[in-house]
Symmetry: C2
Subunit: 281 residues, 2 copies
């Protein structure tokens, strides 16, 4: 595969990718991060071979593939830096949770060698010290090519993720944002709001003292990285807001049923949700 790869953003996701890649291929990995500390840790853990806080240093390294693993709102400015620092034939891909318009903006800057990708894996953990080589194994990987994407670049990225052990699926960039706005971004918004609610109600009694197992599982994703999620909500605002509106209506419907003591209605509402949820497993 690619002999020299660069990872921009040496955190939990970028670090996990580097570990998975290194296990499979004889390669050199260059890390770029604004935090020198992250680069130091990543070198100590043998996740990267070399590193720099400056994208320009890729000129000397000359990577064949660059993987962007920073919060999505940094993508355009990083892409501009990359354009000046990598060779024409170097493929660029990413691990970002938002696609849609962003993919087209990346194409404008980097050309057709940009291949959008989104591994459906991750945890609430942040930091390269938590990186794990099997994060992407048996997990879905969404590839979001556009009609402009270079077919060979797409094929290379696809093969790479298949070798890593992911289940690769192609999806239109805008469809991606609708789908993951609903099944991933909305649940995160809800979890963050739930913690704010418990905090607000804790003015009466400290409710954080009473976390049942269900509550902990349910709100685990609210411990996720604030910057990463700020960027996701900003970049995918259209789809996230739509999903939040539908959710607010769904919750208001249940609230109305409880308010009016509609026993039969509540039962039907819960039965429908329960059977739909069981259908997923």
């Amino acid at each position: 595969m690619f002999e020299k790869i660069a990872v921009i953003g040496v955190g939990f996701m970028g670090g996990s990718f580097a570990l998975a890649y290194r296990e499979l291929f004889d390669c050199k990995i260059f890390g770029v991060d604004i935090k020198p500390e992250a680069l130091r840790k990543a070198k100590d853990l043998r996740i990267i071979d070399e590193g720099s806080t400056r994208i320009e240093d890729l000129r000397i390294f000359e990577p064949h593939l660059v993987i962007m693993a920073t919060p999505v709102r940094t993508f355009p400015s990083i892409a501009k830096g990359l354009r000046l620092s990598i060779a024409q034939g170097c493929i660029v891909s990413d691990l970002g949770s938002v696609k849609g318009d962003l993919v087209y903006r990346m194409e404008e800057i980097l050309g057709n060698r940009f291949v959008g990708g989104h591994p459906i894996a991750g945890t609430e953990k942040a930091g390269v010290e938590h990186a794990t080589r099997n994060l992407f194994k048996d997990k879905r990987f969404i590839l979001t090519p556009t009609p402009n994407t270079d077919p060979q670049a797409k094929e290379s990225v696809k093969k790479l993720w298949e070798r890593i052990g992911s289940l690769v699926e192609e999806m239109d960039p805008h469809l991606h944002d609708f789908v993951f706005g609903a099944v991933s971004h909305l649940p995160h918004a809800v979890a963050f709001a739930l913690i704010h609610t418990i905090d607000e109600l804790s003015k009466e009694v400290n409710l954080f003292k009473y976390p049942g197992a269900g509550f902990k599982d349910f709100t685990r994703i609210a411990a996720s990285d604030p910057i990463m999620w700020r960027d996701i909500f900003m970049e995918n605002s259209k789809e996230v807001l739509k999903a939040m509106s539908v959710f607010a209506e769904s919750l208001a419907k249940l609230k109305g049923l409880i308010e009016t003591g509609n026993e039969k209605g509540i039962e039907e509402y819960l039965r429908h949700a329960s059977s739909k949820r069981k259908g997923i497993d």
Copy 2:
């Protein structure tokens, strides 16, 4: 301890209690359930020794302790049946998720030998076939005595749960409903509503095809028993509705920040939630 105990409602919770009790004490266990099939299964699994679909049959069995493990809205009518079928000295307790007024109603019917209890344990599973003997071990158990509760009855129930391995804590019945309305009932309402949302949005694309690990964890509790949860929402409506209102406001606040593209505001909102959530672990 008690030589003869009866469990009303031989499902996942009642069955798990019977298993835990039998492991500790030489005893006879009588099960009451409206479903003959549940009684048959429970006997086959040696969870109960005898069983009946009629509460009146407890007259012959003469239990020393009755544990109610049915959906909470059935409690008053079951209590009326118990009053006619058990001896004066028989203690009655329960595994219900709602306390508050319900505990006082139970006292009116059964007198001071009723001791309200709520094990903070459970899963989305239902049915006696999933019962497990270690469900309550190292889990909190909330005892909700009133000023009227017979001190000896309370002490007996407390000792029983300590022997089972639960961490017993006393709480005022109404405070209990406020606390668990927020940290348990509200998250369930949210999870049920989230499944309805995904179902509604699936009119465009079948979103149930894309459940990431986070989504599955997050919505697992939406697979919970509809009747059990209908009863909880009906019985604890006051506290649940209050928590739902605060939650709707919290979510609307985040929605407003996203709508206005308030980058700094979103970041602060998420940072606060993330740090509060991390504080629980």
